[in-house]
Symmetry: C2
Subunit: 244 residues, 2 copies
């Protein structure tokens, strides 16, 4: 069996998320349907990041096994012909049999985007979290420093997360503003459920003065979800890159 990795870009606005669900159309379903129309049989597409409803991807990574002898570089065009325009396969790469897009992922980068202007923009509709009032960028940047490194992120994960350990390492976390857009970019060895949206919400709360950057170490230490910032909306979140 061949093992083919694909890199996928999608606008998640119209979907119930990456993973197949009974109620709603998922990215995975659309990809598996497109793949079946090409290879002629049901084929599971394994995704690296199981993005939620409304979450976007700039470079989602996935893989599938197939017996069909189509050269890897032909897959993007063939799949794109069968996919809706809001999901695009950017490239395909032949991998060894033991490659697994999720289990082999060493690092992931997510982007959280806030559109910060009094009036929302038609061009960021469903693609950023709109916030009308002023945001203190320096406070967000200050807060981000305390989140870098190895921490127990219980305080910044959704209640009921099923995981052995709440410890994760954040390698890099930047906050920058370009025009009216504030981008928070975070790279880590893994993320708990809703963790990026809660990290973003906590830095956002620093930016609007609801907490101070100095509060963050004690929020982490107390492991109390209610002390951290809100889970910001899915529409601002982008899975940006998977590293192996």
């Amino acid at each position: 069996m061949r093992n083919v990795q694909i890199i996928i870009e999608y606008d998640g606005s119209a979907y119930c998320g990456w993973q197949r669900q009974i109620n709603g159309i998922s990215i995975q379903q659309k990809l598996e349907e497109a793949l079946e129309s090409i290879v002629g049989e049901k084929t599971t597409v394994i995704g690296a990041g199981r993005t939620d409803a409304g979450v976007h991807a700039l470079r989602q990574s996935a893989n599938f096994f197939t017996k069909v002898q189509i050269p890897a570089e032909k897959f993007p065009f063939a799949l794109n012909s069968a996919l809706p325009q809001d999901i695009r396969v950017v490239c395909a790469i032949e991998r060894n049999g033991d490659f697994h897009s999720r289990f082999r992922a060493k690092r992931k980068t997510y982007l959280y985007r806030i559109y910060n202007r009094r009036v929302a923009s038609p061009f960021y509709l469903n693609r950023a979290y709109h916030y009308a009032a002023e945001i203190n960028l320096a406070a967000m940047q200050q807060g981000s420093k305390s989140l870098m490194g190895v921490h127990d992120f219980t305080a910044m994960s959704a209640a009921g997360s099923q995981t052995k350990s709440f410890e994760r390492e954040i390698y890099d976390l930047t906050v920058q503003k370009t025009g009216d857009v504030i981008d928070m970019e975070v790279t880590g060895n893994g993320f708990l459920y809703n963790m990026v949206r809660i990290l973003a919400g906590t830095l956002f709360y620093c930016g609007i003065g609801k907490i101070t950057p100095e509060d963050i170490p004690s929020i982490l230490k107390k492991k109390d979800r209610t002390l951290a910032g809100p889970t910001l909306p899915a529409e601002g979140l982008y899975l940006k890159e998977i590293f192996y």
Copy 2:
């Protein structure tokens, strides 16, 4: 009567253009309906640039006359509450009675955007012209130089343009690439019908080697539309700014 100028941002994908039409919903109609719901009577909204179907605006300018004593700065919020989310009034300014958004415009800036990657992007769907093969940016930049200044643009206007003179002045024309996006930005004292899309098409033809940058002066001189490049699709065009 008060004279109120408004600055409007819109994604034109869903509309038949700026101007009211019998078949199709226009930006003007949506604005006039929103305005009527606030001031209580039918009020004409005069737009500076009559953008075509599918064309976007970053800062369209318009004005209307009203007797209603709502402070100018209250109009954006009031209008936005009544408008669809793909049309936003960014600000409103009190003007003298003789201000006319179209007739008083001295300069206009348009942006034409090409998305240049083998695979189209979900995030530029309806918001850029997608071209998959290579484009020679230097050739486009070279070609742009011959378009600057005062010229008869007959060769670069749609057949049947109704105008006294085909002479226009281009003050500035830049071509630059950021990531996969090529932006052509042009500022002039006015533009003939379809002129920006044909200018963009002519520079695009320089970029893909269908004409050379050196051909442009003679294309202008011969006043023959068939020698210039194609009218690129509406979806890549943005009205960027109106200057008074």
